[in-house]
């Protein structure tokens, strides 16, 4: 039997504010352990939290970018649980009145477009970092735990999707789009390798036609798109096997083990009531005025979906628009500058996402390291479309420009790459080739038509590839 997965995703995003959510300790990655800690984030008795206004402004901006409604007011709650990296034994989070609710995000993937509902976006604080020591560092076999509280209290935003996703691939596409929005709005550095963006997934299965949701399992500990996709696949497979063997899926939290490629059940499972949420008495409620929300709205830059649309209007096909819209800001800037300098959008986009990206990768450089500007790209595309250089020569011209040899025109001239379209000069070369290969000419004239390709090749060779093939063919037609 076929089973239909139903997936909802919780995405945690660390904000890269200068200071933590409720105290003035620095938010900094990679500092020596326990050097950015104070009485508040260590939960020393008598300390009191004060929220960071910048973090609140950022969550409002992100919520608006995700088409959410901003609640007129919002309160913090305590979520009580015990863990070594949670010094207060509760996390300051939000419960029934989060900052943002009821949004959505449109996602485009190879398989098409779909909309994912966003239930809520709420503000909380990150925990410290635990290093589990012994037996290869695996969480379930560790002998002891080392704790670093530098991360404790870092502003953390949780984005909860509705269970609108139907496959692991969709989950990946959604989280990638979401990450792009997070990066674009500037609320977080969104660096996956630093754990700035992390995923939990709620997974259940049901018969394809059923509207009823199955028992859901929460899987935790995915911090890359790849592991999210793999973990969901593994969990769906596990549930299908269970159900087909006549067993039941149990509601639980499971931990993704990246190296083993499987999920492990976790021994403790606390239900929502076990967290004993109650309003945080140390923090006053927040009220968001209309002008505050308007201000946040005005700070939202162009988002990926809008940019893709704009690129499509420039004539790019959807795939190409998607790749370009998702590329690094400096590369997009190069494209936009080139178009502004008169480049045709389609070839300019192909250059940027193709040869230029590849060349930068070969050079292990970024765009800022090479003297390539929008006007150069515009000149290059113009030279190709006017037939002044061949597509192949254009690649060499590009390399020359990136090597600092000057403008495309200059490089083409200096490297002798300009096509010979001077009719008289070409006719001269064709004459020479025909007399040097008179046998081939005879064979052609006696009906062996494929010899023509050989003759064209000889002309190209004689001109080091600089002859315009169209012109060569024309001349050959009249002479043969």
């Amino acid at each position: 039997m076929n089973w239909a997965p139903v997936i909802g995703i919780e995405v945690h995003v660390e904000l890269d504010t200068a200071s933590k959510m409720f105290c003035g300790c620095r938010v900094s990655f990679g500092d020596p352990p326990n050097t950015n800690v104070c009485p508040v984030c260590l939960a020393l008795p008598g300390s009191l939290p004060v929220p960071n206004r910048e973090a609140i402004e950022r969550i409002i901006r992100l919520g608006l970018a995700l088409n959410c409604r901003i609640n007129p007011g919002s309160v913090f709650h305590r979520k009580n649980y015990y863990y070594a990296d949670l010094p207060k034994n509760y996390q300051i989070s939000q419960f029934d009145i989060p900052v943002c609710v009821d949004g959505w995000l449109d996602v485009e993937s190879d398989e098409g477009s779909f909309r994912v509902g966003i239930e809520r976006v709420h503000m909380e604080e990150d925990t410290g970092k635990s290093v589990h020591v012994g037996e290869g560092g695996r969480i379930h076999t560790a002998a002891e735990t080392l704790v670093d509280f530098n991360r404790a209290g870092t502003p953390l935003v949780e984005i909860v999707s509705r269970p609108d996703l139907r496959s692991a691939a969709d989950a990946r596409a959604y989280t990638q789009e979401l990450r792009a929005v997070v990066a674009e709005t500037g609320v977080s550095d969104a660096r996956m390798e630093r754990g700035s963006v992390r995923f939990d997934a709620n997974v259940s299965i049901r018969p394809p036609q059923s509207q009823k949701l199955g028992v859901k399992v929460e899987i935790k500990n995915m911090n890359s798109f790849r592991s999210l996709e793999k973990a969901i696949r593994a969990e769906v497979d596990r549930q299908v096997e269970l159900v087909e063997a006549g067993e039941k899926v149990v509601m639980e939290t499971r931990h993704w083990d990246e190296s083993a490629g499987i999920t492990h059940g976790m021994r403790t499972k606390e239900g929502s009531s076990d967290y004993r949420y109650f309003t945080e008495p140390d923090l006053a409620p927040m009220v968001f005025s209309e002008s505050w929300v308007q201000e946040a709205r005005s700070q939202i830059p162009e988002l990926p979906a809008r940019r893709r649309e704009r690129y499509r209007h420039l004539g790019l096909n959807p795939g190409s628009a998607r790749v370009l819209a998702g590329s690094e800001p400096d590369l997009r800037g190069l494209f936009e500058d080139a178009v502004e300098s008169g480049a045709a959008p389609v070839p300019a986009a192909n250059w940027v996402t193709g040869d230029i990206t590849a060349s930068l990768r070969r050079r292990n450089a970024c765009l800022g390291d090479v003297p390539l500007h929008g006007e150069d790209l515009a000149a290059l595309t113009a030279m190709v479309s006017q037939g002044r250089i061949s597509a192949r020569a254009a690649r060499q011209v590009l390399e020359g420009v990136m090597d600092g040899e000057g403008s495309p025109t200059r490089v083409a001239r200096a490297r002798n790459l300009e096509q010979i379209s001077d009719q008289a000069a070409l006719e001269q070369v064709v004459e020479e080739v025909m007399s040097a290969h008179s046998q081939a000419v005879e064979r052609y004239r006696s009906g062996e038509k494929k010899v023509r390709g050989f003759l064209v090749g000889q002309v190209m060779r004689a001109t080091s590839g600089r002859a315009d093939p169209r012109a060569v063919n024309q001349i050959l037609s009249t002479r043969l």
Partner: protein, 94 residues
């Protein structure tokens, strides 16, 4: 009538080891408190603005400016065990 409470479960959530006598005593005491709370919940509150905090609408914030942190040696002195700048705890999941 006092409300029945699963004190053992609540104690476990709070990581409290209670003796059978204590479990029994707290079950009775908490039961009376919950009975009182349930009576408060019966009060007609429709049309009354919820009050989540005695300070009302606070909007108390601080600017996003870093301030000095504590000295690490001083911090780790408070820990029963530390190593290489880390706090050491028993295995976290057990």
């Amino acid at each position: 009538m006092p409300i029945d409470v699963d004190v053992a479960h609540v104690a476990n959530l709070a990581r409290l080891a209670l003796s059978p006598e204590e479990l029994d005593r707290y079950r009775q005491e908490l039961g009376v408190i919950l009975e009182h709370a349930s009576r408060v919940q019966q009060v007609e509150t429709s049309g009354i603005m919820p009050l989540s905090h005695p300070l009302g609408s606070g909007n108390v914030f601080r600017p996003d400016e870093p301030s000095p942190s504590l000295d690490r040696e001083e911090v780790l002195e408070m820990a029963p065990e530390s190593r290489d700048g880390f706090f050491v705890t028993p295995p976290a999941l057990d």
